[in-house]
Symmetry: C2
Subunit: 312 residues, 2 copies
């Protein structure tokens, strides 16, 4: 509250809305940019002082902890990697939960299991703050342009409190249910498909290389045929260029397909394609490609088969 009172010389009625952004990586940093462009004041924190410096250079303010970022905020947006980090942001040392004003909303963007999203939501809402389960997709470029897709669920009060900030960040806001967990479940369905499609794209493209087909022609034909997928179209240019610098890393799908296997096992649901894909991501991480681009699965298939792929 004190931070908010000292934020400027505006009267309460015309002061800028303040958004706390916790996690300033490629997604969170882009979202902060989009929020500032839309007129919000952003208070951000991150363990990386380099990322905090970027926020300040772009016109934001820095906070030393989630609690500090949350204390004066109208909306707190958490853009961390997983459920454990989200729990720490909320309830760990200097966590956001107890620092948030009652009635404000915590927007959780990390991909996690629906069950944990439900638990985190219930725990925060018991303290009189709102929780919006709001996983995102779209990548860093669309984050900075305010054109993310948000798969959200939560109470009407959570949506009402979050909507101005969400409108500044999202090209598409799906309102998927009235309680945390449903947004997470939709995101996991998307991740199952995305993870399998990347693996299938790498399996097929490297199989084409093994047969000495013209890979640029394979890309042209497949993207115009029934075998196409969003991921084939998006990731295979990395393979054609031999460029495996990480836009999204192998470890992301080690995590997300791992969550899917945990969910599926718990629900007695057999998911053999997702299971096969997970094994390939695990093997890619196992041979040392975990932090490389997820299209590195193609390099793994090449190692396993003697196929030759383009080099950068």
């Amino acid at each position: 509250m004190e931070r908010m009172m000292t934020a400027g010389d505006q009267s309460p009625s015309d002061r800028k809305s303040v958004v706390g952004v916790i996690g300033l990586g490629s997604m969170g940093g882009g979202m902060a940019t989009a929020l500032m462009r839309a007129g919000f004041e952003v208070v951000g924190c991150d363990v990386s002082s380099e990322l905090v410096g970027k926020l300040i250079a772009a016109g934001g303010r820095s906070a030393g902890s989630p609690a500090e970022a949350a204390s004066g905020a109208d909306v707190v947006i958490s853009v961390v990697v997983n459920a454990a980090q989200t729990e720490s942001v909320l309830f760990g040392e200097n966590g956001a939960a107890s620092a948030m004003r009652p009635g404000t909303v915590f927007v959780s963007c990390a991909t996690m299991s629906p069950e944990i999203a439900r638990q985190l939501g219930a725990r925060l809402e018991a303290t009189g703050r709102h929780y919006l389960d709001a996983p995102i997709s779209g990548g860093a470029a669309r984050a900075a342009q305010g054109e993310l897709t948000v798969l959200a669920s939560g109470s009407a009060a959570a949506f009402d409190a979050a909507r101005p900030a969400l409108d500044a960040m999202a090209a598409r806001l799906y309102e998927l249910g009235d309680a945390p967990g449903t947004g997470a479940a939709f995101k996991m369905i998307n991740q199952l498909l995305a993870g399998v499609h990347i693996a299938a794209a790498c399996e097929a493209m490297t199989f084409a290389a093994k047969q000495n087909l013209d890979l640029a022609k394979v890309y042209e034909v497949i993207t115009a045929s029934a075998g196409n997928s969003w991921m084939f179209e998006n990731r295979m240019p990395h393979v054609l260029a031999g460029d495996y610098r990480p836009l999204s890393a192998i470890e992301i799908f080690v995590k997300d397909l791992g969550i899917i296997q945990d969910m599926a096992r718990s629900e007695r649901y057999p998911a053999p394609l997702a299971a096969a894909a997970l094994q390939m991501y695990l093997a890619a991480a196992g041979v040392g490609m975990g932090k490389d681009d997820d299209a590195s699965l193609a390099r793994l298939y090449a190692q396993l088969s003697g196929a030759t792929l383009p080099e950068s």
Copy 2:
């Protein structure tokens, strides 16, 4: 030759080109329609007298065997299911090969392994006829509209002889190489992806059903997200409608993913996603769904998990 001479009262210079179409099912019948609309005379044969009757009603002529369909034709197009049928059409009893005029072209549209396409091509070309390896994709509706995609390879002479007929049938003609086998290889890459994507779509959609998500909303969200594929978008409406009447049957991917596993094993190429998908198509065929629509994999996942899917 005699058939051609008696075909009408046109002089040789203005007579219609004659195309023999062998196999008048949903694809071949549609292609015959497109060819006649473009001004070709079509002589067709099929084991089904009902399908031959449809061709006659549409203005085509019937032939009692591949040899008879081929004997007066400028181009012979074979639209059968697999390599074995193609070999029989060419070299079986009353086969097309020896009946074709030297210098004319046999256009083979069946999906088969590149190795067998090479063998059939070499065997026909040794007799002085041309062979175009020309698998197709696009479905029955686009076949009838003359808007197929054709993935072709063969000699310049084979392309030259086939091009007028191909132009009438195809919205996209890819010229992929100068010998039979390359077209087949491209088609198999497409089939690997298509087969995996249908299985992944059914795995994901039924997993959503198991979690009691709104499946129409899942379709809306996924088709606008990075998890989308051509097959998800095309096949999942069958699941939402509970309509498993076959547009393309489970058995097609039992065949095509089987060819891929044979190719991959022969080339020492591990293809775990295609292998996992094949097991699901085999299980669907094993429980009696082999002739149903390939989206029936969703019903298989539902059987295996207790999920409830929409019924028609």
